[in-house]
């Protein structure tokens, strides 16, 4: 799959005036070294403030930030800020987007990286001293405030809306080429997808009335990507209805039909969910092993592991 054409380009098909607007847009500004140092200092105070609590839990290794340490902190942070700021003044201009892309901070060049890392290390060590007991235990499950993003931890509900949005309206570039042919009736189907229950209960019983098929409305001669997208919408809708058998059937059918689809990872995941709902433990295990081997870093991987773990 190649990326869609950007709206900034002439061929991007942006609405009137949007190209001009986007040309005026600025990429996110980089975090300045001074600001970074300032925040580090505040975080050091924060860590110090809770350090006593943390160390109590850690068998009473009491930690108190003395005045001398605070003074040292301020000096170190100031030095770090000045050092990095000076380097910034010498560095050649670098596009903001490029620095954001690299996530390497505002400095460019080997010298800059070395000195910057020394400076950063200096305030890193200050925070380290101030927060000696924040090391992360591994086994605790993700909690509500800090859990993985909704789209990752709960991709289904989010993605229904997303895919329904993708299917619901005509559009321009290649992402939706041919969508205009879907017609107005598709809007109703799309709405049905959005209105489906957000979390499928682990029920196996198939509902008596199926939502209207989006894929059925796509002309047979339509472009493959459009059909792929539309049929994936049907699959998601089936899963949302809690219709595990239909979900599984569609996932397998579509996986064969669209072997190189952008949604193949998603389909494999939905098939595992459906198998789990059908309590077909052996197949869940096999599919999960295949999935995790093929997509070890998938956002779905934690859920796949949970499904396996929950099998009787």
């Amino acid at each position: 799959m190649s990326d869609p054409v950007r709206w900034r380009t002439e061929a991007g098909g942006a609405p009137d005036g949007v190209r001009d607007l986007l040309r005026q847009a600025a990429a996110p500004k980089a975090l300045s070294a001074a600001s970074k140092a300032q925040h580090a200092a505040m975080l050091a105070k924060l860590a110090a403030g809770t350090g006593a609590v943390a160390t109590t839990a850690a068998a009473g290794a009491q930690f108190a930030l003395s005045t001398k340490v605070m003074l040292g902190l301020a000096m170190t942070v100031a030095a770090a800020g000045v050092g990095v700021t000076q380097l910034r003044a010498h560095r050649s201009a670098r596009p903001v987007a490029a620095s954001q892309r690299a996530h390497a901070g505002p400095l460019g060049g080997a010298q800059g990286r070395v000195v910057a890392s020394q400076n950063i290390h200096s305030y890193q060590s200050v925070i380290e001293q101030a927060a000696p007991a924040i090391a992360a235990p591994v086994a605790v499950p993700l909690g509500p405030a800090g859990e993985a993003p909704r789209a990752v931890a709960e991709p289904m509900g989010q993605r229904v809306a997303t895919h329904a949005g993708a299917l619901g309206v005509a559009s321009r570039p290649r992402l939706s080429s041919g969508l205009a042919g879907l017609g107005a009736s598709r809007q109703g189907a799309s709405a049905a997808v959005v209105a489906a229950p957000t979390v499928a209960a682990p029920t196996v019983a198939a509902p008596t009335v199926a939502a209207p098929s989006l894929a059925a409305e796509v002309a047979p001669s339509g472009d493959d990507e459009l059909r792929d997208r539309a049929q994936f919408g049907d699959l998601v809708a089936a899963s949302q209805r809690g219709d595990a058998r239909e979900t599984l059937r569609l996932a397998e059918q579509q996986s064969d039909r669209f072997a190189d689809s952008q949604f193949r990872e998603d389909r494999a995941f939905y098939a595992i969910v459906a198998l789990g709902q059908l309590q077909r433990g052996a197949e869940v295990t096999t599919r999960a092993a295949q999935f995790l081997a093929r997509y070890p870093r998938s956002p779905y991987a934690p859920r796949v592991r949970r499904i396996v773990a929950n099998q009787p």
């Binding site: 799959m1 869609p4 709206w7 900034r8 005036g17 949007v18 607007l21 986007l22 005026q24 847009a25 600025a26 990429a27 996110p28 500004k29 980089a30 975090l31 970074k36 925040h39 580090a40 924060l46 860590a47 987007a97 996530h103 305030y123 060590s125 925070i127 380290e128 927060a131 924040i134 090391a135 992360a136 591994v138 993700l142 909690g143 405030a145 800090g146 993985a148 993003p149 909704r150 789209a151 990752v152 993605r159 997303t162 993708a166 309206v169 559009s171 992402l175 689809s261 990872e265 096999t286 999960a288 092993a289 295949q290 995790l292 081997a293 070890p296 870093r297 956002p299 934690p302 592991r305």
Partner: protein, 191 residues
């Protein structure tokens, strides 16, 4: 295949023990950029940035290495920005609070150009504010920062297919917001 499952079922091997300072040092720039992509205004950026790391500090022990650190951090940014959006404290930017522009661009502008630029930025901000946060991020990263969909997927921690879908949905939402805005201006008789 089943024999391989126990190994696959185990969590990805954790890296070195994660500390607040390590997260801050490695990912402060990512958090800073993500908050801007999520629509946090320059005047509020410092506060919200601090807020994110306060949450990170409180919740770091819950990080279980089932995802990349940046994915987890992005989740925290998303929630914090969502709260920020809901809260009423977001300040209206006073003229004096306008974001500082890059000097070379300011120098090359006439006052008229600067005014046009400022107005365009305000319009764009207004339209971006109409987008759902998850879509907004993808839209900004793709259309403004010109990152590839693969890069966006890696940073945000979603499959690339989801990037395509969100981008598509964002564009539709953007177009609708633009149409609403134009209709509103036409009603007022503005140019």
């Amino acid at each position: 295949m089943d024999e391989a499952l126990p190994k696959l079922m185990s969590q990805p091997s954790p890296g070195p023990a994660l500390t607040l300072s390590a997260v801050y040092t490695a990912h402060a720039d990512f958090v800073w950029a993500s908050l801007q992509r999520l629509g946090v205004r320059p005047n509020d950026l410092d506060d919200v940035f601090q807020e994110v790391f306060v949450i990170v500090h409180q919740r770091l022990h819950t990080f279980d290495y089932s995802s990349k650190v940046t994915t987890w951090l992005f989740g925290v940014c998303l929630r914090t920005a969502s709260d920020y959006r809901r809260r009423a404290y977001r300040r209206r930017e006073a003229p004096g609070d306008a974001p500082v522009e890059e000097p070379e661009r300011v120098e090359s502008r006439t006052p008229e150009d600067a005014a046009v630029h400022r107005e365009a930025r305000q319009t764009l901000d207004e339209l971006l504010d109409a987008l759902d946060l998850e879509r907004r991020v993808v839209f900004v990263m793709f259309e403004v920062e010109e990152l590839s969909c693969d890069e966006i997927a890696a940073q945000v921690g979603i499959p690339v297919g989801t990037v395509y879908s969100r981008l598509h949905a964002a564009r539709k939402q953007f177009e609708k917001a633009l149409a609403r805005r134009n209709a509103r201006l036409n009603e007022r008789g503005a140019p």
